[in-house]
């Protein structure tokens, strides 16, 4: 308790008069202004994408905030660049990997949460530790294996990779949601003669669905934005939006309005999902170490 003596020793007056009301109101204002200023600065590049997307290609270079909005760039992105194919790949890959992930994770989490063995804790920690592998350390073997198996530039290839990347998060999150389900309810279902499938479907699913669905959002976001593997393992046929945007790094990127329109479409839906799954993001990415 040394910290306590520190406080007393350093406090000149113990009965300090209450802070002036005016003072604290001013402080609230200052904090609010600082908070909003920083928020706007941090958000500015995204705001700028959104603005530029609605400008004409000629108008995009001027920093004007007042202009006549146009959908021209969106039309051109769709018309000229096969945008839809990339978009579909992104959707297939992120939804596919998330589904596959839960298909594998839910049975495992069920086993770990309701029938734990002495090894269960160790298994969970070990699963998390697989995320400690830097991607670049296994780039070449995965590339060569994919080449041999014909998985290079295939949607399934990316689905497999993202499933493996997200599996530890899915198992961990599902496990924590299952642990919150009271055992008595499961027992009652069992006494009533519910089968394993019945138990899963009628009792567990409804109770843990809210948690699991926001975890699904998190997994979709992570797969949607993943750029290391998608750039290295796909080129044309299976390339998702991350790769499509990367193609703008050529001088074509100087077509700001089109770059912005393509970017805005790729980013906006995911950002909304991200805002909805903040909590899952924290506990999923830190494996519950931060609450």
């Amino acid at each position: 308790m040394s910290s306590h003596s520190f406080w007393y020793a350093s406090s000149p007056t113990i009965s300090k008069p209450l802070a002036n009301v005016e003072d604290s109101r001013l402080k609230t204002w200052l904090i609010g202004i600082a908070g909003w200023l920083i928020a706007l600065i941090v958000f500015f590049p995204i705001f700028w994408i959104a603005i530029t997307a609605f400008k004409t290609e000629q108008g995009a270079y001027s920093p004007d905030l007042i202009f006549k909005p146009t959908l021209e760039s969106f039309r051109e992105v769709f018309a000229r660049s096969n945008y839809k194919a990339y978009l579909l790949n992104s959707i297939y890959v992120s939804l596919g990997s998330t589904l596959l992930c839960f298909l594998i994770a839910i049975p495992a989490a069920y086993r770990m949460a309701f029938f734990p063995t002495p090894k269960t804790a160790g298994t969970l920690v070990w699963m998390m530790s697989t995320k400690m592998m830097p991607a670049v350390g296994v780039l070449l073997p995965v590339y060569l294996l994919f080449r041999t198996a014909g998985l290079l530039d295939s949607v399934w290839g990316l689905i497999f990779i993202y499933t493996l990347l997200n599996l530890p998060i899915a198992v961990w999150m599902t496990f924590t949601y299952f642990c919150e389900v009271p055992g008595a309810i499961l027992e009652a279902a069992r006494v009533d003669g519910a089968s394993l499938m019945g138990e899963l479907r009628d009792v567990l699913a409804p109770m843990s669905l809210p948690g699991i669905s926001s975890t699904a959002l998190l997994l979709i976001i992570l797969s949607w934005n993943e750029a290391f593997w998608s750039i290295n393992l796909t080129s044309a046929k299976a390339a998702p939006l991350t790769v499509f945007i990367a193609s703008y790094s050529s001088p074509e990127g100087l077509f700001w309005a089109k770059l912005s329109a393509a970017s805005l479409l790729a980013v906006a839906p995911i950002m909304v999902m991200g805002w909805l799954s903040q909590k899952q993001l924290v506990s999923g990415l830190t494996f519950g170490a931060v609450k």
Binding site: F178, C179, S260
Partner: protein
């Protein structure tokens, strides 16, 4: 019955799953181990096969352009890697990028978490704006910064400098590493902030009030209460960011392609360029192995640092 879960940061948590109920369904019992098998099996393969291959490749002669070159290479791959003029810059760049981004994101994240711990008008909306960059795909972030903000002629910063009569700056030409650090920090600061902000909300209010009544200044409260409380979350942020930052690739690939020269070539980009551009799998694998070792060393020290901190705090 309960399960003890040890989190990566060394904390032991006890959860209370519904494990007390009898396994009433007989058939469920025999299928139980199988439920876990797909998850454990696939992750086991994922961990062991590619890493094993990386280690194997790094000791053989293996070049996709030259199939006749085969056989055990002893330590030659490591020697060639060592002699590669891009190797030392790559190691240095990896460390600089990692270190700078960690410091920037954690410091800004902590300060912002403290600021946002106060109530102010529209705080929830402002929070959404602050965490938004984390959800932007890396290739979009990189290109928007490169083309629209940092561009030496048309970029917003160039326009701003021009309007006050200052010369434009060629960010990616003259300060390439700084530019990459700026972009990556913008992407990861929201992550640090979100974790730290979540953690700071669980701070004991009574303790703060007591300290405040006792006349503690803001500074004293920050260093004596807030920072120790956040230390665990900071450790977690550092660890997770480290793993991701060691493999930073898309941002460099889309902005500088590792250049000018080797100015922004990090280990991840070097491995990509050796393996998938020059097709020398052997040497590239040696580089990949090095990245794995680096990650493990960092993780090891961080775990120790963290557990020491925890012990000291108790």
């Amino acid at each position: 019955m309960s399960v003890e879960i040890q989190t990566p940061s060394g904390e032991v948590k006890t959860t209370h799953p519904a494990a007390d109920l009898p396994p009433a369904v007989e058939e469920a019992d025999s299928t139980l181990p199988f439920l876990q098998w797909p998850a454990v099996g696939s992750l086991f393969l994922w961990m062991i096969v590619p890493l094993g291959m990386t280690i194997y490749f790094s000791f053989i002669r293996y070049n996709l352009m030259n199939p006749e070159l085969t056989g055990f290479a002893k330590a030659d791959n490591f020697k060639y890697l060592w002699e590669d003029p891009a190797f030392f810059p790559a190691i240095l760049n990896t460390v600089i990028l990692l270190g700078s981004v960690l410091v920037i994101t954690v410091v800004v994240g902590v300060l912002l978490a403290v600021l946002y711990d106060h109530r102010f008008f529209g705080r929830n909306v402002a929070t959404l704006l602050v965490i938004a960059p984390f959800f932007v795909m890396p290739t979009v972030s990189a290109l928007v910064w490169k083309n629209m903000i940092l561009h030496p002629v048309y970029g917003l910063i160039a326009l701003a400098l021009h309007s006050v009569g200052l010369p434009a700056i060629d960010w990616f030409g003259d300060h390439p590493m700084f530019s990459v650090i700026l972009i990556v920090s913008w992407e990861w600061m929201p992550f640090a902030f979100l974790i730290l902000f979540t953690s700071i909300k669980s701070l004991d209010l009574e303790q703060q009030e007591a300290a405040s009544i006792d006349g503690a200044t803001g500074m004293q409260m920050f260093f004596r209460i807030t920072l120790p409380h956040l230390s665990r979350a900071i450790g977690v942020v550092v660890m997770i960011e480290t793993i991701f930052l060691l493999s930073i690739f898309a941002e460099i690939y889309t902005t500088t392609s590792g250049g000018p020269g080797t100015a922004t070539t990090n280990l991840a980009y070097l491995v990509y360029s050796l393996g998938l551009q020059q097709f020398d799998i052997g040497i590239a694998s040696a580089g990949g192995l090095l990245a794995v070792i680096l990650a493990n060393v960092v993780a090891f020290f961080l775990v120790r640092l963290l557990s020491n901190n925890l012990k000291a705090a108790r």
